[in-house]
């Protein structure tokens, strides 16, 4: 199957190019990128049917696309690709507005095209194992959670779009939060019944966000995200008969404490999430089955993020307005 990469910025360079160089299931035949410095450099590495700025020209050479452009372009590019009968794997978030997401979802369904979103963390073996532990009730019923994820932001953004309100569609909640919420919703498999949201946005984008939330079946929990500091990065799930923790930066290990026993560490397979994402995407197209990451699931996380922004409160940060002496 021939595939095109739309956008050759940081995520394409770090995640996709190294894999697609020798990927039997997906043959890279086109790259769409307006920046000539990047395409000049890439022309030495790839022999392609098309490389340049013209998306419509590129689509003539591909069966499917991977969309790696700034968030606000996900919708118009996905729409054009679907209109041209191409299967779409889109970087997260699916779109910056729920309505746009719903539109491309309907288009894909109507034309029996595959639309998947790169919520790549779901492909970690440990993440799948946690889903299994919750579903089978190994530790009893899930009662609560505390998810924390924070690092000092250092993503080598090429365009800087991620700090542009219009182009990114949000701050840390839209960027890292969409990964975290995708896992949370997948693991818990329930609807949120109530929540409150607060962040540190001072008129730009939020870099720190907190959510308290309750699901319909009574599971309650707390989420804390930041781009400004390294937090105690654990996703902790509380069960009737124990506690389970997972660190997204040490993704092979699951830490489990049953009742009052000692904490034990369980090492899972290393996994290759991006490779598995691509394999699933290509298999979904060939087998005409839904992809592992469905567009509707990506929309669930986006809907919740939008609801958070709509009900935003300020995190009380007394150091922010701390007065120096007059």
């Amino acid at each position: 199957m021939n595939i095109g990469l739309i956008g050759a910025g940081a995520i394409a360079q770090q995640a996709y190019f190294p894999l697609l160089k020798g990927f039997p299931e997906l043959k890279l035949t086109a790259i769409v990128e307006p920046d000539e410095r990047i395409t000049n450099e890439l022309s030495n590495r790839f022999s392609l049917s098309y490389m340049g700025p013209d998306l419509e020209a590129a689509l003539k050479h591909v069966d499917a696309v991977i969309i790696c452009v700034p968030n606000f372009l996900h919708y118009p590019i996905a729409k054009l690709c679907l209109e041209n009968g191409k299967h779409v794997l889109c970087e997260k978030p699916i779109t910056t507005s729920v309505r746009d997401g719903e539109t491309i979802l309907r288009m894909a369904e109507a034309d029996s095209l595959t639309l998947s979103v790169a919520h790549v963390r779901r492909f970690y073996p440990a993440v799948k194992k946690i889903k299994e532990i919750i579903a089978t009730g190994t530790l009893g019923a899930l009662t609560g959670f505390d998810f924390r994820e924070g690092t000092v932001f250092s993503w080598p953004t090429v365009t800087g779009f991620i700090f542009d309100k219009e182009k990114a569609g949000g701050g840390v909640l839209m960027d890292i939060g969409v990964h975290l919420l995708d896992l949370l919703f997948w693991w818990i498999d329930d609807e949120v019944s109530s929540f409150n949201y607060a962040d540190d946005n001072l008129g730009g984008l939020e870099s720190t966000a907190e959510i308290n939330m309750t699901f319909r079946r009574g599971v309650t929990g707390h989420v804390k995200l930041t781009r400004l500091a390294v937090l105690n990065n654990f996703y902790t799930l509380n069960f009737e008969n124990g506690v389970l923790s997972w660190n997204p930066f040490v993704p092979r290990r699951i830490y489990i404490r049953k009742n009052y026993e000692q904490m034990t560490s369980h090492k899972t397979e290393k996994g290759a999430p991006v490779r598995d994402l691509l394999l699933d995407f290509s298999a979904a197209i060939l087998d005409k089955r839904p992809p592992f990451i469905k567009g509707e699931e990506a929309l669930q996380a986006l809907r919740f993020i939008k609801a958070c922004y709509a009900s935003r409160q300020a995190i009380p940060m007394k150091w922010l307005k701390g007065e120096a002496s007059p």
Binding site: F153, G160, G171, G204, L228, S245, R253, M317, A324, S325
Partner: protein, 365 residues
């Protein structure tokens, strides 16, 4: 000059001091500053504000012209901090010259230049004022800042209203060295057995420094002057780091006398581990990360001790610095600007809240 009616351009706004200037300008004056951004990856803190991010760098004159726009006040906080001392000197000196030339052409009404007390060299006298002679040394940073001050003097003679600021030990939320570095240091056992450390620290809270910078804009008497901006009075280095130990919930008395378990173990094992760290890394680092993460969650006390063991105490080559009894006078700033900084204890209140919120230390409440 009226700061609230000013149009501001900040260089180094993705850094600690520049970032706080941008925040206070927005929070206190509703001024959305124009900010020179060389590296977007460092712009998370800034991105919370409705500022204008202007891509560019100090060696790109065109980007400085575009960045400055119609601004009439510049807070110049950029300094070269790469691994290349030649490039750093260029960023500091050639960059300031570039900015100064453009500022003169554009009729900028105030350029506040952030220098440093490192211009007094590695062994300053016990009382330092703005009149104390500067000292070129092997310290590239301090020496380069001396040359930037000379450039400022030249720009002033050509009519640019320049003010030079020499901050001391700037602490507070987001301070990379004197808050984040300090808390990491005490947590990793880097301030142990310090009974023989008798030197003085001159801390200034970031908000006091920024207030001082704003006073330099508002007060025309500041033009052409140099000011040391420090806290109200020096404290001992032990009091400075012990304040962070208090935040971290560490027992300051036992550590000061070296009676805790870390010292005994550290004296035997620590040097071995430190001297063999490359060997250890090559063979067991991947496993160590896993083990350490496991320890953090299952045996937090052991994790802290292990971390402290590898951290070591005050190193011999640091003792000279921490035994200096230099006092940096702020009398000139008080007199000219009405500068009146808060006590160290007051500054530590919001610093503590910030450290707890961002989980540098556990919340012990």
């Amino acid at each position: 000059m009226n700061l609230s009616a000013s149009r501001i351009f900040i260089t180094g706004a993705t850094g600690f001091i520049g970032g706080r200037i941008a925040e206070r300008l927005w929070l206190d004056y509703k001024i959305p500053a124009r900010c020179l951004v060389q590296n977007y990856a460092a712009a998370s803190r800034l991105s919370r504000l409705p500022v204008t991010m202007c891509p560019g760098n100090m060696l790109d004159k065109k980007s400085l012209v575009l960045g400055l726009g119609e601004s009439n006040v510049i807070f110049h906080c950029v300094y070269g901090n790469s691994k290349d001392p030649v490039l750093n000197a260029r960023v500091n000196e050639e960059g300031l010259q570039n900015l100064g030339e453009i500022a003169i052409q554009r009729g900028v009404e105030r350029l506040i230049h952030l220098s440093t007390v490192a211009v007094y060299g590695p062994e300053p006298p016990e009382m330092v004022t703005e009149e104390t002679p500067l000292c070129l040394s092997e310290d590239e940073y301090g020496s380069s800042k001396i040359r930037t001050e000379a450039i400022c003097h030249n720009l002033r003679e050509r009519g640019l209203p320049v003010v030079v600021i020499r901050p001391t030990v700037v602490f507070g939320p987001f301070s990379p060295i004197w808050t984040i570095g300090a808390i990491k240091r005490v947590l990793s056992g880097g301030w142990e057995n310090t009974a023989d450390i008798i030197g003085l620290c001159n801390p200034v809270h970031i908000d006091d420094l920024v207030k001082g910078l704003f006073l330099c804009v508002e007060n025309d008497a500041a033009i052409g002057q140099t000011f040391i901006l420090s806290g109200p009075e020096p404290i001992s280095w032990n009091d400075f780091f012990n304040a962070y130990k208090d935040v971290a919930g560490l027992n300051r008395s036992s550590s000061a006398t070296g009676q805790n378990g870390l010292k005994a173990g550290g004296s035997l094992i620590g040097p071995f581990l430190r001297s063999n760290v490359r060997l250890l890394r090559r063979f067991i680092e991947p496993q160590m990360i896993d083990i350490y993460e496991w320890l953090k969650i299952s045996r937090p006390a052991v994790a802290r001790k292990l971390s402290a063991l590898l951290g070591g105490g005050v190193k011999e080559n640091e003792k000279k610095k921490y035994n200096q009894k230099t006092v940096y006078s702020i009398e000139k700033a008080r007199k000219y600007l009405g500068y009146s900084p808060r006590s160290f204890a007051a500054g530590m209140e919001d610093t503590t809240a910030w450290l707890i919120y961002y989980e540098y230390v556990p919340n012990q409440q």
